[in-house]
Each structure stands twice: as structure tokens, then as C-alpha cells.
Subunit: 281 residues, 2 copies
């Protein structure tokens, strides 16, 4: 049986790098072979697995510089069936890709807005006169180079190789410790793991509604490695919370905490219990 | 003396609407007259006040649908001298603006990505065949209409009036309760108010580092109306927290909490104590 893995496409995105790491993990742990399936947006990627078109989805959750990928969190909150199987942490090292002979020949640089933001300092320092134009993906930026030899694009070195384009400068990101965390999701819960993620909404307009759920973990000495609030889209000041706990959902203390949490939350969703893999590219 | 108010420009943005509300507030409370000064980005707007070029800045902090304006939070964390004077909550009602005679004639719609996201459902339902093109601001989208009478732009009704363009449909946002919260910032602390905002980082890699600061407020029954985490940009999993407390910084309980908080945080910044004004356009 071949496992199908949905990811944000097209070829050459960092999401594809994470899907490749996911394929390697599947092969090494269970001997299963798998194929990648690119989709044009994060909601489409997740829906492919929810509908059974693919068995797994790989989506970005958080970048160490830019923060949460809010589309992923908002889409998962609206879904019911997907469970996190694993987290993959991928280093993000941007390359400046161009057919131009040198930096001085460049007039325009295309890149996804996140990549432009992550290389802002380098671009201001090295290419102060160049026009920076946002692209909808790294791959779209690379396609621009076909007609424009005096232009550059920001993407990974693997993408440069894939599109058979030269790397002019690498790495060009401002912060060396630039990583993106991806989640691998499927429809069946994965047992064990070192981390548990959940999402909940609290009853509206009750003072202390936000503090009580957090105390459930604090009193049990359960460490939260992350807390993120997202608007519920009902009214300003009304939130959905996403929490990562540094413990497995199998842990009896976590189970007690989840039990108690149902009394202080309006909707509570267990997103999954999983381990984290750090990959090198 | 005329007070200068910096805001994200150009003319016709929602940030200008908030700056107009700020000008009205200044006139009604202190009789001071003021003038608006548009800037091309949020960091430039805030730096104008930090450097003394303007006395106040008006910047968006949070939208009820899209969530935090992360550029505002990240820029304020890097600054030291700005204090919130007031919060302004502005209803965001988008209009479809075009010289085309009817919806059926439209081929393209230009809008800021946030406006496109906030009207996604309406656009899919009413204009399924139309090309949606992101613009860097509402004003840029409106400028496109000069050369393209078969195109539309999404902006406020005030912007349509300002650019002398007809409104084809209003309101077109998917969620009726669409609001954006703005902060008015200046260099002098403003006394009193009903809310206090602060930002802090916690010592890295200490279990429970996130929970302890929150308990400081919970044990005093101080309600947090909002908590937002932003990456510290040092490493994945290392955050800066932004918290809004529903009490004045003058309140002795808040002062005790702030005192205790210094023991559990690495860097602690009081962003200001202020009241919230809801405006109608």
C-alpha cells in the first residue's frame, strides 16, 4: 500500500521539503512507501486528508521569526477529524537565485512576503536599490526568472537545483536560527509521543475565563511550551486558544487535566499527541 | 500648538479613519487642534513619534477576524519610549467600489490581502469568475480603477467618496462584527484608564517559565482580556508575551503584580494604561 501525503505545493516549496522528511520517516519506521501530492493552499491540503483523498497532510504551523501560520490554526479549529501524528522542525535557509552574473546586475527580486521579511536586513544592506516584489510562492518567484535574467528570486537551494537555476548568494536570512515547525496530520490518533496539542474556546464574557484553564495545567506542574490566541471571529476580545503541553496525552496527569478542562471550556479539541523530529536538509 | 498624528497612509486607509477619530478625541477632551501625517509603513509611523517628528502615532493592533497585527507588536517590543494613550475600536465595513455598471461586468477585483480574506465568502458567492489580485493597500487598489473601468476595489465607503468613485455593493464583509483595535501612542505615560498592556520575555529553557507570570495575575483575580505570544526571534519555542489586563496601572493590586512579575521575567515593558473608545463611522 502506498501512502499519499498532501502538502502545500508546487514543487520547490519548504512544505515539500517537510513532506520529503515525512516520507523518509514513514519508510524508516514502518517500511511504508509514500507519494507526495501538492495542493494550492493550506485549507485544500488539510481537506484532502479529511476527505480521504490522501492519508496524511503536512502543513506549516509556526516559524521561529514570523510566528504562527494562522491559516493552519484557523482551519484545524473548524475541522473535527484530523489528529497530529508528528511534528517536523525544518531549518529555513534562504538562497538568492538568479541567472544574473553578480549582485550588481540585479534590478528586481521576487519572493514570498515571509521570505522577503526574513531577509529584509540582508536585502537592505546588499541590494539597497533593487525593487522587491511579493510573489504568491517561492515557485512563482522562480518562474519569473525565465523571462527576466536580470531578476532574482528567494527560495531554498533544493528549489534552485530543481529548477536548474544558479545560486548567487547563500544563506541570506537575517537570523541564522530560522526554523519552521510542520505538523503531519492523519485521521487516526497516534499513540504516545512527547507533546500534546489542544485547542479550546472559553465561555464568553466571564471574568477570569482565560486564567482558569491555564491554572489547570499550572497546578499539575505541566509545562506549556506554547500558547497562541486566535480570534473566534465572533467578536473582538473573544478567542480560541491553542496550547502545546510538554507531555503525552497517555500521561495520567494530562488525562486528569483534560478531564478538568472540559468544565472550564466551551469547546475543547484534542489535536493529537506526538513526537518532534528535527531534520537537516 | 498643533499636535501632529502619524498614521499608516495614504489617504483612504482604515488607519486614517482611526487617526480622524483620534483627532476628534483630542479636540473634545483638551481643545487641542491636530493634523494627520501619513507614513508608508507601521514601523515608520511609530518611529516618527519616537523621534519627535510627530507627537502621536495611531497604529492597528488587532482585528476581530484576522487577529494580531504582528508588525505593530514586534516593533513596539524593540522600542522603549512609546506609551499607549488610548485604544480606539473601529468597525470595518468593506465596500466594493467600481465604475462598472453592475457586478456582472467585473473581471478583476483588487484589494489588500486582509480585505480579500475578510470578504472571501461574499466574493466566492457573488463573483465566482472574477480574478482576485492582492494590492499593497486599499488606496493602491483604488488607483488601479483609473485605468481599468471593468475592475473593482475593496475599501471603505469614506475612501470611495474621497476618490470620487461609486460604491457597487456594501457591506460585503463575511462577518458583520468586523472591528479593528488601534492604539494611540505618545512619549509621555497617560495616567489612569481602564486597561493596562504589557510585554515580557521569560528566562529561556526553564520549565513552567510561561505559567508562573500568568499565575501572578490569576492569584490576584486580575482578569486578562488578551494574551498573545510572538517569537523572540532567538529560537523556536522562545517567546515574547503581550498581555492586556482589565485594570488601571494605578490600581495597587496591578502595581503589586507588576512588582512580583519582575522576578519571573527577563525583560518587562509596561506599554501603557489607557481607556478604550468605540467609534462609529
Amino acid at each position: 500500500m502506498t501512502i499519499l501525503i498532501a502538502h502545500l505545493g508546487p514543487a520547490g516549496t519548504y512544505a515539500e521539503d517537510a513532506a520529503i522528511a515525512c516520507r523518509a520517516w514513514l519508510e524508516s519506521t514502518s517500511g511504508l512507501s509514500s507519494e507526495l501530492r501538492p495542493y494550492s493552499s493550506i485549507p485544500k491540503t488539510l481537506r484532502a486528508t479529511e476527505s480521504g483523498e490522501t492519508q496524511l497532510s503536512v502543513v506549516p504551523v509556526e516559524n521561529s521569526i514570523e510566528g504562527s501560520v494562522t491559516t493552519t490554526l484557523d482551519t484545524l479549529w473548524q475541522m473535527n477529524s484530523l489528529q497530529i501524528q508528528r511534528a517536523i522542525v525544518l531549518p529555513i535557509d534562504h538562497a538568492l537565485i538568479s541567472r544574473a552574473p553578480d549582485l550588481a546586475s540585479l534590478q528586481t527580486v521576487y519572493a514570498h512576503p515571509q521570505a522577503l521579511a526574513q531577509c529584509q536586513g540582508w536585502l537592505e544592506r546588499m541590494l539597497p536599490e533593487v525593487r522587491l516584489i511579493p510573489a504568491s510562492s517561492n515557485a512563482e518567484a522562480l518562474h519569473k526568472l525565465e523571462q527576466e535574467p536580470q531578476s532574482g528570486a528567494i527560495a531554498s537551494r533544493r528549489a534552485a537545483k530543481l529548477y536548474n537555476l544558479p545560486v548567487l548568494s547563500y544563506p541570506i536570512n537575517d537570523y541564522p536560527d530560522n526554523c519552521t515547525r510542520f505538523w503531519v496530520l492523519g485521521v487516526t490518533p497516534s499513540p504516545g509521543g512527547t507533546h500534546t496539542s489542544l485547542a479550546f474556546s472559553v465561555p464568553a464574557n466571564i471574568p477570569g475565563a482565560l486564567v482558569t484553564p491555564l491554572q489547570v495545567f499550572a497546578t499539575r506542574n505541566l509545562n506549556l511550551s506554547r500558547i497562541e490566541s486566535r480570534p473566534s471571529k465572533r467578536s473582538l476580545g473573544d478567542y480560541v486558544f491553542f496550547i502545546d503541553i510538554e507531555a503525552s496525552a497517555d500521561d495520567p496527569t494530562v488525562q486528569q487535566a483534560l478531564q478538568e478542562l472540559t468544565q472550564h471550556t466551551e469547546t475543547l479539541k484534542l489535536l493529537g499527541s506526538y513526537s518532534i523530529a528535527k531534520v537537516t536538509c
